[in-house]
């Protein structure tokens, strides 16, 4: 099996690479590339994302044909794709970080700033928080409800159709932290930095 981590200059992806390689061992071939052909020929994709929504979308659009290649992979051919953090947020229609920016538009919804309730909640939401599993999800298989995952973000994905939500976390309000829609998976938390539980999410994705 060929699994590709999409390298589109979206910030620091070393930890994503290390963790996927750790779980994959010799069983799965992990590639890191922005080569459109290699992406199209992969069996699974990981779309990481760090920094702002706008900077990630801009970086993605800077690579000619990448947007279409991802669409062909995930929407037309319906092959498994995992978005992490801003990678997940970009599934939405629009984001409001820095300025209003169009997302990939794969899952209806918007990306808005977490309500800090007049300073009651510090932003970014940094650290370990419990996830509340609200619906069965393939990538959360064998993960206990209330497990801790590592978060670092100030914006949240608010999907139009709540049925895609598989887990939430409590910070100011119930923040969407895991989604599944057919072959599309996304986590707001960083599985690559969430210790053994996070590695389990990665394993689940590789085992799909």
């Amino acid at each position: 099996m060929n699994v590709t981590i999409v390298d589109y200059q979206s910030g620091n992806i070393s930890s994503v690479i290390n963790s996927f390689k750790q779980v994959a061992k010799d069983k799965v071939n992990i590639k890191i590339t922005s080569d459109l052909n290699k992406i199209k020929l992969s069996d699974k994709l990981i779309l990481p994302g760090q920094g702002s929504f706008k900077s990630c979308v801009d970086s993605l659009n800077r690579i000619n044909g990448l947007h279409d290649a991802l669409k062909e992979f995930a929407i037309i051919n319906k092959k498994p794709l995992l978005g992490i953090c801003v990678g997940l947020q970009m599934f939405g229609d629009v984001g409001y970080e820095e300025s209003e920016t169009k997302g990939l538009g794969w899952i209806p919804g918007k990306v808005t700033k977490i309500d800090n309730q007049n300073g009651k909640f510090k932003l970014p939401h940094i650290g370990w928080n419990e996830i509340e599993i609200v619906k069965e999800s393939k990538i959360l298989k064998d993960i206990q409800n209330k497990s801790h995952m590592y978060f670092v973000h100030s914006y949240e994905f608010v999907p139009g159709d709540k049925s895609v939500i598989t887990a939430t976390t409590d910070y100011s309000s119930k923040i969407v932290c895991s989604i599944e829609k057919d072959n599309l998976f996304g986590t707001q938390f960083h599985p690559e930095k969430s210790d053994k539980t996070g590695l389990k999410v990665i394993e689940n994705f590789l085992n799909l």
Binding site: G11, P124, G127, V152, K193
Partner: protein, 252 residues
Amino acid sequence: MLKNRIIPCLDVKNGRVVKGINFVELKDAGDPVEQAKIYSNGGADEICFLDITASNENRETIINIVKKTAKNCFVPLTVGGGIRTIKNITDLLLAGADKVSINTAAVNDINLVVDASKKFGSQCIVVAIDAKNISKNKWEVFTHGGRNKTGIDVVEFSKKVEKAGAGEILLTSMDRDGTKSGYDIELLKMVTKNTNIPVIASGGVGTLDHLYDGITTGGASAVLAASIFHYGEHSIKDAKEYLNSKKVPVRL
């Protein structure tokens, strides 16, 4: 609920840990890679390396350590010490660091914080502030590992780095550092009340109660400590169980 983080900090000099951990299973007491692994397996919420190597030529050394550590460590890794340029940050992140901590360079040129947080995202930019008490409720920023005074007020500077895009503040009390008499709670209170980004308390931990005070009274989101963990007085697990028994939310 978001948990308060416990962060062991390892001082690294010329590729070796200056203060060692007193663990029996440790094969090499001075190897930062192995120590980080032990902390990570022991439940540390993050790991922090502070490179106190004086010379610039040694940057490759810390980068190699980060590379090796990141391969086996699946909790966030922060690296600080001697970071002056975007290139320094890029090198560390490519090696596998998740965050960098900027100290002197942030005072010299706040634009480094602005540029770095734009380029890499606020989530990986920590500004480390070394604070010294100068009069009642007044603290001054010091740089160059505490050697140079700047005349800059700590609270004003904290607001400035928040505005510049820092994701967190690592606040060290120079008065308390190494004394084991507890964090400077007044300093912590002052900074946590005047900023809206997470503050990591540092400097002075001698007992587990000090961690408790830093979080509950000081308002810190995370607590950093070195010697109480290194010398085996307490494990990360002890610290977490203690805090949990006193109703402080931690990841057990």
